[in-house]
């Protein structure tokens, strides 16, 4: 059966209906049902990474004519291939979002080759020309939002000691740690970030121990990069420390301690993707962006954020949103072992592929990658 052609026709009809509906002031509707499959590595209400994607999926559910199927807790093994197969063959999914990092190669690539007429969109992978044309990868420069969190943290901390509970020293995590630290140092040169790696994405007891150890060391503002920030946020707030969130907005967990946070904005991106398909232009195979492209956002400021910190953070945000953008990783950058990692004079803009290979911690970070 030719799913691809059917889907394109459906989507084109949907696109026509969309524009007609918009012209007539009606709610846009897809002429026939299009099924979109979402696959999550963990639970979709984890206050974290998977919940952020599920919120994006929920935004798609609101669009008439779209049917969303979801499966959670799919391990990064052959299991994801089986899930993809069943979403295609049983639910008739024509657009798939395997959202976890480890799904990309070989699993999603294999499926994209097997079903060349369907569309596969992976979060976090690095699509290259060698990969199938019906596959794509998208990701957000969430380090921009971490930089803003860093500014707020640097100006809120009394001890100038910040803490970061991290899962594993992979480039995306290191980028967040470094951007957070550089943001803090841009407004508070004395600021340091103590990092603790727990070793895996979901280790609640270790995360709680890490949080307590950091606070014992005098850290008074914490953030994290683990799958579910709930443990860190709640335990830090109980000890009277301030927190910056990650993945989604955790302010409900600790209203007094929550300063701001780096959040994904998938609920803005996914409807955009669907519109691109409906308009017949397709989704670019490699799609990235930050605050300006509305792929990431920052949480609203908490009550503990001073006027000074709000002002500094808003100014930085304006720079990211400006036409020229703003490079976090600028030349003359020294790592915490004293080695120059970016030579003076070279600015590494957000899209620079060198940043995707980051293996260092910048000066001001206390910790090591191995």
């Amino acid at each position: 059966m030719d799913f691809g052609r059917i889907s394109r026709r459906h989507l084109l009809q949907g696109g026509a209906a969309l524009s007609l509906g918009a012209a007539a002031g009606l709610r846009p509707a897809f002429a026939a049902e299009t099924t979109i499959g979402f696959i999550y590595v963990g639970s979709r209400d984890d206050y974290g990474y998977n919940q952020a994607h599920a919120q994006g999926a929920a935004a798609l559910k609101k669009i008439p004519g779209l049917k969303v199927v979801e499966e959670e807790k799919v391990p990064e093994t052959d299991a994801v291939e089986k899930t993809i197969e069943s979403m295609i063959n049983l639910d008739g999914a024509t657009l798939l979002f395997p959202t976890s990092f480890g799904y990309y190669n070989p699993h999603m690539i294999k499926m994209a080759n097997k079903y060349p007429k369907l569309r596969f969109e992976h979060c976090g992978g690095l699509w290259s020309d060698k990969d199938p044309k019906n596959a794509g990868s998208y990701f957000g420069y969430i380090d921009e939002a971490q930089y803003i969190s860093g500014i707020v943290a640097g100006l809120t901390s009394k001890s100038s000691k910040l803490g970061f509970v991290a899962a594993k020293p992979i480039p995306q995590v290191l980028r967040n740690i470094n951007a957070f630290t550089l943001g803090a140092k841009s407004v508070n040169p004395k600021a340091t970030t103590q990092v603790i790696f727990t070793g895996d994405w979901s280790m609640p007891v270790k995360e709680a121990e890490a949080t307590n150890s950091l606070i014992d060391q005098g850290v008074d503002v914490l953030t994290c990069h683990v799958d579910g920030p709930k443990t860190m946020v709640e335990n830090a707030a109980r000890r009277g420390a301030m927190v910056c969130g990650y993945h989604t907005n955790q302010s409900a967990l600790a209203p007094k301690a929550y300063l701001t946070g780096a959040e994904w904005n998938w609920e803005a991106l996914y409807p955009k993707f669907v519109k691109m398909i409906a308009a017949g232009e397709g989704i670019p195979n490699f799609y990235r962006g930050g605050l300006k492209e509305e792929i990431v956002k920052t949480s609203p400021y908490g009550e503990a954020v001073s006027a000074e910190a709000r002002k500094a953070a808003d100014e930085a945000k304006a720079k990211f949103l400006s036409a020229d953008g703003f490079a976090i990783f600028k030349g003359g950058l020294v790592d915490n072992k004293g080695k120059t990692v970016i030579a003076a004079g070279t600015d590494r803009g957000q899209k620079d592929p060198e940043l995707e290979k980051m293996d260092y911690l910048v000066e001001g970070v206390l910790g090591a990658t191995s």
Binding site: G42, S43, D45, D46, Y47, K73, S159, K161, Q194, V195, I196, F197, T198, G199, S202, M203, P204, V205, K206, E207, A208, E209, A210, N212, S213, L214, I215, D216, Q217, G218, D220, D227, G228, K230, T231, E234, N235, R238, R239, A252, L253, L366, G367, A368, S370
Partner: protein, 308 residues
């Protein structure tokens, strides 16, 4: 100190704090399993019981507003799961280890399924008692904020030790564990003794779970246990079926779990994977040191399916 930091003192303090905070679920599960195994049966399903206990405690605490009611609910859930294990095992030719593995998967699966709507809400937590009032160092005070359940667990170990040795019930459980024929000759139903022992074991494991979700780390999510239940079952063998040794082993495991993060926080950053693995290395080391090819494990109940 002026900047609120206590430098290298963090490490021993974190290990002490960790021993108190992290050890409680280990303690309850291992004491529970100790009772069950002494009666001659292994319940590997306690990992599932722990997770079910954590989930039901959180749910009941959230719905009723009383964390203590949550603890009770966790215990009852654990006892029911224990009864299920014992019930299935009392059928002829049923392997208790296989049933345990099945119940481990059943318990965690059921808890994840029923616990779905509980991940987001925040339930009332158990209170802590401030034993650090004498100190003006905030870190010490934080480490000594102790939950009463830890104290109950610590008190339970010597009570069990005494009960096994000197009470009629202790003798009955040991008889059932050492020789079911002897127990039967005395006119007791071995199955009934084991049913009760497994239910009590499940009750304690469920309570251990409530500590996870209601005190530390203090919320319900699916990664909450990360294998602590199964570690605690192994810990019983490691502690040679002795409640007092269970206590020390639980404290050591708790402290070891805190070691990795604490060392990183003071700047010992190389090899943190190794330090994170400290509890497992500890187990392995003690197992190797104490094992012998010439005899069976000392203290092992003779009726246990691993020794029989």
């Amino acid at each position: 100190m002026a900047d609120g930091s206590i430098g290298l003192w963090t490490v021993p303090l974190a290990v002490l704090g960790g021993a108190i905070r992290v050890s409680t679920p280990f303690l309850f599960v291992s004491l529970g399993e100790c009772i069950t195994e002494r009666s001659g049966r292994i319940n590997l399903g306690l990992e599932g019981t722990l997770v079910m206990g954590a989930m039901s405690a959180y749910g009941i605490s959230y719905l009723s507003g009383s964390p203590w009611l949550g603890v009770l609910a966790a215990g009852v859930t654990g006892a029911l799961l224990g009864a299920l294990h014992a019930g299935i095992c009392s059928l002829p030719r049923v392997n208790d280890i296989a049933v345990g593995i099945a119940l481990m998967l059943f318990g965690t699966g059921l808890a994840f399924y029923l616990g779905k709507p509980l991940i987001e809400p925040t339930a009332p937590r158990l209170p802590a008692i401030d034993f650090g009032w004498w100190s003006d160092i905030p870190q010490v005070r934080a480490a000594l904020r102790i939950n009463v359940m830890f104290l109950i667990g610590v008190a339970l170990a010597p009570i069990l030790y005494w009960a096994f040795r000197t009470t009629r019930w202790g003798l009955l459980i040991r008889t059932a564990g050492e020789s079911s024929d002897a127990a039967r000759a005395m006119g007791h139903s071995v199955l009934l003794i084991r049913l009760r022992a497994t239910m009590v074991g499940g009750f304690l494991a469920g309570i251990g779970g409530s500590f996870l979700s209601l005190f530390y780390p203090g919320s319900w999510n699916e990664g909450l246990s990360s294998g602590q239940g199964i570690t605690a079952v192994a810990l019983v063998i490691f502690a040679r079926w002795d409640p007092m040794l269970c206590l020390w082993a639980s404290l050591a495991f708790g402290g070891a779990a805190a070691l990795g993060p604490a060392l990183q926080s003071v700047g010992v950053t190389s090899g943190y994977h190794l330090f994170n693995a400290a509890p497992y290395i500890l187990t392995l080391a003690i197992m190797i040191i104490t094992c012998s090819p010439k005899r069976t494990l000392t203290g092992a109940p003779a009726e246990l399916s691993i020794t029989r």
